[in-house]
Amino acid sequence: MASENVKTFTDANFGEEVKNGVVLVDFWATWCAPCRRIAPIVDQLAEEYNGKLTVAKVDIDENPMTPSKFMVRGIPTLLLFKNGDLKETIVGLETKDRLAQMIDKHL
């Protein structure tokens, strides 16, 4: 189950939601098996960085505009934004430690 600290972004609110602070967005879909592997790691990051990092998910089936805008053509893809600017793109699977190191650089 997704952590309550993980928000859900949509095509409608995406631009507004990533405007402030450091935001990690997980692009996923229900049919994507590797997405299910990274989901618990994203949940744990949301817990551990609660208050310092906004963590959100975008279901690409329901929100096709946002992945297309950021040229996401494979999932899972994680994008990290700082005050609205795209800072990092992680395609595929990654360990929690390495994701944490990447997040720490931008906090």
């Binding site: 879909a29 049919w31 994507c32 098996a33 590797p34 299910r36 592997r37 618990p40 790691i41 744990q44 690409i60 089936d61 992945p67 040229m71 996401v72 053509r73 494979g74 999932i75 893809t77 793109t89 395609v91 595929g92 699977l93 990654e94 360990t95 929690k96 430690d97």
Partner: protein, 325 residues
């Protein structure tokens, strides 16, 4: 996520595909209280497949991810502990062996390596840079993004055919690019691919470059005819690589004997070049590479590890292994 009570174990299993989970099942039933470290690609290659029709016991087939969930639950049912994490280093020069996982260190008297194999890339450099930008090794993951667009598949084996067939339902056209003039794929898969109207084949052709790094997405492939050397360009929005697998043995370089192709060498069942270290599944098998052979070798590794720990693993293995029920 399971909590790990003790950092010292009799058996640690690295990898969570059919080999690792079957080893965990047998080791837990033998009361060895194994710790299994699942790795970044938890569940292994079957997690990326759809219907598996050749795993015995499922007459109507079974979905790869469902099969892995069942194997996992079965191992856990008998007490195997599964740790989410990726092994960053191992030390095999003396016992107990040490296994580093993120910031923690675990030790074990016996080790079962079931780290499997991962999809091979083209070795162009550019293919990895455009990963997630139109280059993919997983059609079922990324095919979605190419609805109504032309794509290419590189390779001539079962993986490549499976990807081409899957993609043919989404993409406008699928061009299979293969270095040779015949396919390695099984007859069933070949027939399926060749009878699909929007799949075409380019024989004796290799990919020499993928464009366009500047635009940050795939726009075309630069191809070379392997006989004439003539170059051509094929406009596609996506390219799926299905050229085989490479064993996940980087952790063991210089510590365990390997074949020239990087697969672990085993002898007398599942034994590696270091006593107490056993290997199972695709990491030591570049020939069969089936879910059922991986599971079988995982069982062998657990039995070998159990005998090693009890001091009854003999130099020769001519004795009969009694049935375990």
């Amino acid at each position: 996520m399971s909590t790990v009570s003790s950092h010292t174990r009799s058996v640690i299993i690295i990898g969570s595909g059919p080999a690792g989970l079957t080893a965990a099942l047998y080791a837990s039933r033998a009361n060895l209280k194994p710790l299994l470290i699942e790795g970044i690609e938890a569940g292994g290659q079957l997690m990326l497949t759809t219907l598996v029709e050749n795993y015995p016991g499922f007459s109507a087939g079974v979905m790869g991810p469902d099969l892995m969930a069942q194997m996992r639950a079965q191992a856990e049912h008998f007490g195997a502990e599964i740790l989410q994490g990726d092994v960053s280093a191992v030390q095999l020069s003396k016992r107990p062996f040490t296994v580093h996982v993120d910031q923690s260190v675990y030790t074990a008297e016996a080790l079962i390596i079931a780290t499997g194999a991962s999809a091979k890339w083209l070795d162009l450099g550019v293919d990895k840079k455009l990963s997630g930008r139109g280059v993919s090794t997983c059609a079922t993951c990324d095919g979605f993004f190419f609805k109504g667009l032309p794509v290419a598949v590189v390779g001539g084996g079962d993986t490549a055919m499976e990807e081409a067939i899957y993609l043919s339902k989404l993409a406008t056209s699928v061009t299979v690019i293969h270095r040779r003039d015949t396919l390695r794929a099984s007859k069933v898969m070949q027939d399926k691919a060749m009878s699909t109207p929007n799949i075409s084949f380019m024989w004796n052709t290799e990919v020499v470059d993928i464009k366009d790094l500047d635009q940050g997405k795939v726009t075309s492939l630069v191809l070379r005819d392997t006989r004439t050397g003539e170059k051509s360009e094929l406009a596609v929005d996506g390219v799926f690589i299905g050229i085989g697998h490479t064993p996940n043995t980087a952790l063991f370089k210089g510590q365990l004997a390997m074949h020239d192709n990087g697969y672990l060498r085993t002898h007398d069942g599942s034994r590696t070049s270091v006593p107490g270290v056993f290997a199972a599944g695709d990491v030591q098998d570049h020939i069969y590479r089936q879910a059922v052979t991986a599971a079988g070798s995982g069982c062998m590794a657990a039995i070998d590890a159990e005998r090693f720990l009890s001091g009854t693993l003999h130099e020769s293995t001519h004795e009969t292994v009694e049935a375990r029920l």
